[in-house]
C-alpha cells in the first residue's frame, strides 16, 4: 500500500474485531524479529504473529484468526503500550484495520494512529465491553465509527464515544499529514532554534 495522500476521514465502517485484555503491548502486536525489513510493506502478515499460533505453529482461536475481514478493532485499556514501533499500527492497517475503539491508548501508539489517518476513539469500560460482546455474538454485523460526531453506530443505536481533539480536527479536515504544514513554518523554526543557547546560529 502506498502512503495515502492527505484525505478527509470523517467515518470508518466495517465489521469488528474484538480483542479483550488490558495493556496489550506493541511487542505482542509486532514481534521484534519482523522489524528487520527496511519498509512496512509486509507488516500486515506479521500482526500478532506469536499470539495467533499454538506451540505446533498452527493457528489458534485468536481474534485476528477468527474475525478476518474486520476493519474496526475493539480493545480495552492502555492498548499499544511499550515500544514506539510504528510497525505495530502499520501492520494493523495493512491487515485491514481502519479504526480502533478502546478504553484508552498508549500515547505513542495513538500518535502513530494519527500519523496513519487511523482514528483511535475512546469509550468507558461498559460501552467497550458491550461492543465487544455485540461483535462476538454477531461477527458479520456492521459498525460505524463517526469521527466527526464522536459516536459509534451499531445494532440500530448510536453510542457516544470520544476522540482526542487534535486527532479529530486532523482527520476531519484532512490535515493529519503534518510535514507540509510544519515545513511551511521553517523560518520560524530557525528563529526558535537560533534563540536557544545550545543551537549554533545559522
Amino acid at each position: 500500500m502506498a502512503a495515502r495522500d492527505t484525505v478527509e476521514i470523517r467515518r470508518v465502517t466495517g465489521t469488528g474485531v474484538p480483542l479483550r485484555g488490558n495493556d496489550v503491548d506493541t511487542d505482542q502486536i509486532m514481534p521484534a524479529r519482523f522489524m528487520k525489513e527496511v519498509t512496512f510493506d509486509n507488516m500486515g502478515e506479521y500482526v500478532f504473529y506469536d499470539a495467533r499460533r499454538d506451540d505446533d505453529g498452527g493457528l489458534n482461536d485468536h481474534p485476528f484468526n477468527e474475525y478476518k475481514g474486520g476493519s474496526i478493532l475493539v480493545v480495552n485499556k492502555n492498548f499499544g503500550c511499550g515500544s514506539s514501533r510504528e510497525h505495530a499500527p502499520q501492520g494493523l492497517m495493512r491487515w485491514g484495520i481502519r479504526g480502533v475503539i478502546g478504553e484508552s491508548f498508549a500515547e505513542i501508539f495513538e500518535d502513530n494512529c494519527k500519523s496513519l489517518g487511523m482514528p483511535a476513539m475512546t469509550a468507558d469500560q461498559e460501552t467497550v465491553e458491550e461492543l465487544q460482546s455485540f461483535v462476538e455474538d454477531d461477527p458479520d454485523a456492521g459498525l460505524e465509527l463517526d469521527v466527526e460526531s464522536e459516536v459509534v453506530v451499531y445494532d440500530g443505536t448510536e453510542v457516544d464515544v470520544a476522540i482526542d481533539g487534535a486527532m479529530q480536527e486532523a482527520l476531519v479536515e484532512g490535515t493529519w499529514d503534518t510535514t507540509a504544514v510544519m515545513r511551511s513554518n521553517i523560518d520560524r523554526v530557525r528563529d526558535t532554534a537560533n534563540s536557544l543557547p545550545y543551537v549554533e546560529d545559522r
Binding site: 495493556d23 503500550c81 510504528e86 491508548f105 500515547e107 490535515t175 526558535t192 545550545y198
Partner: protein, 474 residues
C-alpha cells in the same frame, strides 16, 4: 494545569507555532537515529524530495540489530537483513551529512547510552528518537520523547514534531536507599504503585531526597523506565550532579561557554512555586530489591514477599491478566520470587548498561562463579562503557566468574540479533520489559531486576536477595 515546571519552561522555549489542529509545533533540539525505525522515514522524505533540515542536530548510531561477539561484527554481517539495515543507515546518514557512530567506531553503542556519555544530552533540550526509551534523556532535565516513524519523517524534514502538552505529575521519592537497593528498584516500585498505564497523559517529574542523592547513571535508569509506567517523558531537574557529569564531555559546552549554559540550565528548572497537576509520594526508606513476577513491568513484588493472590483481586480484568502471567511464568499461589530458578543472566541495555551498573555487578561477582546451569551475558551499553570497564579490569572479573564479555548493543533486551532467550528459559535481566516473547522465544520468561541482583542470580542459579551480602555493604 501545571505552571512554572521545567516541562512548561522547556516547552515554551521550543514552541514554534500553533498548528491548525490545535497542537503545538515543537522544535526538537536533539534528534537521535538508529537503524530499525529510521529507514522508512528517510524513504518518505526522499519520496517528497525533501532534505534533512537540521543535520547538525541529528546523531545516529546502530544498536538494535548489531551482533555482540567480535567475530559477529565482521562485514558483511551474517544476517542479510541486519546488513541491509546497517547499509541503509550508513547511506542515509552520509547522504544527509548526519554524524554516525558506526559499528566499527569506538563510540558505537545504544543510542540512550551514547548521547548522555558524549555530552550530547543536556538540560533544557528537547530530545526525540524513534524509540520509546528516549525518556532516558530527561535525567538531564530535558524533555525526551519516543516517536513513531512518520514523526521521524517530520523531525528529519522540519526539525519539529506536532505535539500536545501533557499534565505534569511530581513524584516525590522521600528517604534514602539501603545497601543493595538501587535506582532500578525505585522505578520498579513507582511503576507498580502507579500502574503500567498510570502515566498516560502525564510527564513524570522525579524529585525528593532519594532522587537528589542519585548519580546521573541512576537518574538515567529511573527516567528510562518512565515509559513502562505509561509516561512518555520523565525528568529530573538539573543540579550540580548534572553539571559535574557533563563537564569535559566531548559535546558538552566548553569552559568558555560554560557559565552561559549554566545560566540557561538554571533558568529552566521548576521554580519553587511551580504548580503540578498532581503530586505522588513514594518512600525509599525500607525499600527492598524489586523484581517482576509477571509479564509486564508493573507486575512487581519485593524479592522476599509472596506474589499477589489471584483470589484477592477484585477487578475481573486484572485477575484475568494476572492468571495469564501465572500461567506463563509457572507460578503457584503463595510463591515468592526468591528461589525462582534462572537459566540465563543478562546484564546490559539502555536501562542498566553503564559503568556503575557493571561496577555494582562486578562487586557481587568478584571471586565467585556463575552457576553451572546458567548462561551469563555481559553486554556493555556502548563501546565507551566497554573500554572504561576494561580499563578498570572489570571485564576480567566477569570473564573469570563465567560471564561472556561482549561488544555493545541492545542484544537480548529484544533479541533482534542472535542473543536470544530459548523456549522455557528464565532470564534474570537488567533490561526494562518482561513482555511475552520480548527476549526471544515466546515461551521464554523474563524477571527484571537491578544489575547487582542479576549478578547474584547468576551465581546462585536462582533469584536471591542481594541485601546482606558483604560486597554490597550491610
Amino acid at each position: 494545569m501545571s505552571r512554572n515546571t521545567l516541562y512548561d519552561n522547556v516547552w515554551e522555549k521550543h514552541k514554534v507555532a500553533e498548528l491548525p489542529n490545535g497542537q503545538d509545533q515543537l522544535f526538537i533540539g536533539l534528534h537521535l537515529v538508529h537503524e530499525v525505525t529510521s529507514p522508512q522515514a528517510f524513504g518518505m522524505i526522499r519520496e517528497r524530495d525533501l532534505e534533512v533540515a537540521f543535520p547538525d542536530r541529528t546523531f545516529a548510531t546502530t544498536d538494535h540489530i548489531v551482533p555482540t561477539t567480535p567475530e559477529g561484527r565482521e562485514r558483511p554481517l551474517v544476517d542479510d537483513q541486519a546488513e541491509n539495515m546497517l547499509q541503509a543507515l550508513e547511506r542515509n546518514t552520509s547522504e544527509s551529512g548526519i554524524t554516525f557512530f558506526g559499528l566499527d567506531g569506538e563510540k558505537q553503542g545504544i543510542t540512550h547510552v551514547v548521547a548522555p556519555e558524549l555530552g550530547l544530552s543536556q538540560p533544557g533540550m528537547t530530545v526525540a528518537c524513534g524509540d520509546s526509551h528516549t525518556s532516558t534523556h530527561g535525567a538531564f532535565g530535558s524533555i525526551g520523547v519516543g516517536i513513531g516513524t512518520t514523526q521521524i519523517r517530520d523531525v528529519l524534514a522540519t526539525g519539529c514534531i506536532a505535539a500536545e502538552k501533557q499534565k505534569v505529575r511530581r513524584i516525590e521519592v522521600t528517604g534514602s536507599l539501603g545497601d543493595g537497593v538501587y535506582a532500578k528498584d525505585v522505578i520498579l516500585k513507582i511503576i507498580t504503585d502507579l500502574g503500567v498505564g498510570g502515566g498516560v497523559g502525564h510527564v513524570y517529574e522525579y524529585g525528593g531526597e532519594a532522587i537528589r542523592t542519585l548519580g546521573m547513571e541512576g537518574r538515567l535508569a529511573v527516567c528510562n523506565m518512565s515509559i513502562e509506567g505509561g509516561a512518555r517523558a520523565g525528568y529530573v531537574n538539573p543540579d550540580e550532579t548534572t553539571y559535574e557529569y557533563l563537564k569535559g564531555r566531548e559535546y558538552a559546552p566548553s569552559d568558555d561557554e560554560w557559565d552561559e549554559y549554566v545560566e540557561y540550565w538554571e533558568s529552566i528548572r521548576s521554580s519553587e512555586d511551580a504548580e503540578y497537576d498532581d503530586i505522588v509520594e513514594v518512600d525509599a526508606d525500607g525499600l527492598a530489591p524489586m523484581v517482576t513476577w509477571g509479564i509486564n513491568p508493573g507486575q512487581v513484588v519485593s524479592v522476599d514477599e509472596p506474589i499477589p493472590d489471584l483470589d484477592a483481586m477484585e477487578d475481573d480484568t486484572a485477575r484475568k491478566a494476572a492468571r495469564k502471567a501465572f500461567e506463563h511464568m509457572g507460578h503457584s499461589p503463595g510463591d515468592t520470587m526468591e528461589g525462582y530458578d534462572v537459566d540465563v543472566a543478562f546484564l546490559g541495555t539502555c536501562t542498566n548498561g553503564r559503568l556503575s551498573d557493571f561496577r555494582e555487578a562486578a562487586r557481587v561477582l568478584e571471586g565467585r562463579e556463575v552457576d553451572d546451569d546458567v548462561w551469563a551475558l555481559a553486554v556493555p551499553g556502548s563501546e565507551t562503557v566497554r573500554t572504561q570497564c576494561e580499563a578498570e579490569g572489570l571485564d576480567e572479573v566477569f570473564r573469570e566468574a563465567g560471564f561472556e564479555w561482549r561488544r555493545a548493543g541492545c542484544s537480548m533486551c529484544l533479541a533482534m540479533n542472535n542473543d536470544s532467550l530459548g523456549a522455557g528459559e528464565v532470564c534474570a535481566s537488567s533490561s526494562n520489559r518482561n513482555f511475552i516473547g520480548r527476549q526471544g522465544d515466546k515461551d521464554g520468561r523474563t524477571v527484571l531486576m537491578s544489575p547487582a541482583m542479576v549478578a547474584a542470580a547468576a551465581v546462585e542459579g536462582e533469584v536471591v536477595d542481594v541485601r546482606g551480602r558483604p560486597e554490597v555493604g550491610n
